[in-house]
């Protein structure tokens, strides 16, 4: 390897090898992406066909006719807008509460000195590993018997005003730690207290982390079925997922309509994701799980 031309030669062949390898990776990724997206496409395509068309053999890859009319027809039996409104009545305040309270705790754990901090933080970490399933029954009983709030949305909303979950507190704490301490110190010298520092110095710097928390919370609640099944029992209070379950139970195997309803349930999540995509990636990259 002492010969310079041999070195450049080796480098060139290495680069060429890398280019080939990247090309193969790209091709494989295209195939795998198609595989991952295909189920969604298939559900979508099924929502635009009649049952007779769905049962045809071999199945058509593309709908023979794009029957958009399936959606209004489905809406007659599947009150999507009511369900959507109910879902957001639960999700929006929850997301707000989680984001605000997680920011408060995350800031305190990152910056402030107080007695019992280590112990409380350990409790917080521990709660991350505690399955929600375990405490389901006592919480249900407490909401219904002690607080008498069974049959309302409160049991689904209020818990999110209690710190927003350990993971989110972590995430905010991590972000606050990345803001240079000198900023706080300068503000302290100028006479700012902890609240002022949080509001005017830190909030502008951790905005993206808060958006990430909000998005993660949104997805978590958007994905939930168990809590809603347990706490919601009146049909007029049903959310999208409960409505979907009811709809499926009523229609059995009218796959055309069931798939149309499924597609409708897909849409809000996809829109939110597309809007917040960059924040997600940035947020998760910067969480620094390594800590």
């Amino acid at each position: 390897m002492n010969n310079p031309s041999a070195v450049t030669g080796a480098l060139k062949s290495r680069r060429r090898r890398e280019a080939v390898f990247n090309g193969l990776t790209f091709a494989l990724l295209v195939i795998l992406t198609l595989l991952v997206i295909f189920p969604i496409y298939w559900i979508f395509r099924s929502s635009l066909m009649t049952n007779a068309e769905l049962y045809a053999y071999p199945p058509a890859l593309v709908p023979p006719e794009w029957r958009w009319g399936n959606f209004p027809a489905t809406l007659e039996q599947f009150p999507f807008w009511t369900y959507l409104r109910n879902t957001f009545t639960i999700i929006l305040p929850s997301v707000l509460g989680a984001t605000i309270t997680a920011t408060m705790s995350g800031y305190a754990f990152a910056r402030l000195r107080f007695r019992g901090k280590k112990f409380l933080f350990a409790l917080c970490v521990g709660s991350m590993l505690l399955p929600t399933m375990v405490t389901l029954v006592p919480l249900y009983l407490a909401w219904n018997k002690i607080l008498g709030l069974g049959g309302t949305y409160w049991p689904l909303i209020l818990p999110h005003f209690c710190g927003g979950g350990a993971f989110n507190i972590f995430l905010i704490r991590q972000f606050v730690k990345m803001v240079p301490r000198e900023l706080d110190e300068a503000a302290t010298i100028d006479g700012c207290g902890p609240y002022r520092i949080l509001f005017s110095i830190l909030l502008p710097n951790i905005k993206s982390a808060m958006i990430v928390v909000a998005l993660l919370k949104f997805i978590e609640l958007w994905n939930d079925l168990l809590q809603q099944v347990v706490y919601i029992n009146k049909q007029e209070d049903f959310t999208i997922v409960l409505g979907l379950s009811l709809f499926k139970g009523a229609l059995k195997s009218d796959w055309s309509k069931i798939m149309a309803a499924t597609c409708m349930a897909f849409v809000p999540g996809i829109i939110f994701y597309l809007l917040g995509q960059n924040y997600f990636v940035e947020g998760i990259v910067m969480t620094g799980i390594k800590d």
Partner: protein
């Protein structure tokens, strides 16, 4: 020794402490009222028989005795839970690491690919299971069309006790986009200089992968493994959304058994006994993971605590 030198706390420090308690107050409420106190309540309630209304009777360890000796579902339920969790965890860990490694290469349209692999994760679970049940449908489903084309004949993906768990685990792998994004974040933190040094020393891609990428990634792998294990052991959605515990009781996961005991059969105490067992099961699994972690997690500069 700090205690002996009692310094008067400054006004600033007192203010700071007070502000801290105000700020963490919501979390304190959460940690006490919705996490740790209910955890204690579960222990207590497990000694009682209660329908959720009417009289409460103390029954000692009867709930546990019944669970371990007479419940016809219990052992199958543990088996189903562990089987599902292992398949889902192993499958999604491997799949997402491979995808993340591919996405970490210098290729065009990375953002698009990443978005595509993450997409399933943002769909509501109920809709996902409903959609997949159509794909898995015995008579008209896409997968059965493909399997007959391949000469395998029709397959009962969701209607046979033998296949239902692998079929559901496949959906879990499909949903594992969040693991991919976390892996990607980890891969971007591996210092480039190590690769350059290794290349100069003549290490090939395979060696670089095993000697640099994997050791650096072990903390992330641990994190993903832990989270995915805890999540998948808690599996309940597919049973609620799709299988209702069947066929037979092949998907009566522990969480579902708990749910059914409490909310269908109104046996609150009994459900708490199940919750206890469930708690122990998860503690055992995470305990094993933590115990072995010291042997395989690599920390920069060996900075173990």
């Amino acid at each position: 020794m700090d205690r002996t030198i009692k310094r008067p706390r400054s006004r600033m420090q007192r203010l700071e402490g007070r502000a801290a308690y105000v700020l963490i107050f919501p979390s304190l409420v959460g940690l006490s009222l919705i996490t740790y106190i209910p955890l204690i309540a579960v222990f207590v309630l497990a000694f009682f028989s209660w329908k959720g209304f009417g009289p409460i009777t103390f029954v000692g360890i009867d709930n546990y005795v019944r669970l371990f000796t007479r419940d016809p579902y219990f052992y199958d339920s543990v088996k189903a839970t562990v089987y599902y969790a292992l398949l889902a965890v192993i499958g999604s860990m491997i799949w997402s690491l491979i995808i993340a490694l591919m996405l970490n290469r210098r290729i065009p349209a990375r953002g698009f690919f990443r978005a595509a692999f993450y997409l399933p994760y943002v769909l509501p679970a109920m809709a996902v299971y409903l959609g997949w049940s159509w794909l898995y449908d015995y008579n008209h489903g896409l997968f059965n069309y493909l399997s007959t084309q391949l000469g395998l004949g029709r397959i009962m993906f969701l209607d046979s006790a033998r296949l239902v768990i692998p079929s559901l685990a496949l959906i879990a792998v499909w949903l594992s986009g969040n693991l991919i994004v976390i892996y990607l974040a980890g891969l971007q933190n591996v210092p480039r200089t190590y690769y350059e040094a290794a290349e100069i020393d003549g290490a090939n891609a395979w060696q670089r992968f095993w000697k640099i990428t994997i050791p650096f990634m072990t903390p992330i792998i641990f994190y993903n493994l832990l989270m995915s294990l805890v999540t998948n052991l808690q599996v309940v959605t597919p049973a609620l959304a799709l299988t209702n515990g069947g066929p037979g009781n092949s998907t009566t996961f522990l969480s579902f058994l708990l749910y059914r005991s409490a909310f269908i059969n109104s046996r609150m105490g009994y459900a708490c006994a199940i919750a206890e067992v469930f708690f122990v099961l998860i503690a055992v699994f995470t305990g094993i993971l933590f115990a072995t972690s010291r042997r395989w997690i690599f920390y920069m500069g060996d900075e173990r605590e």
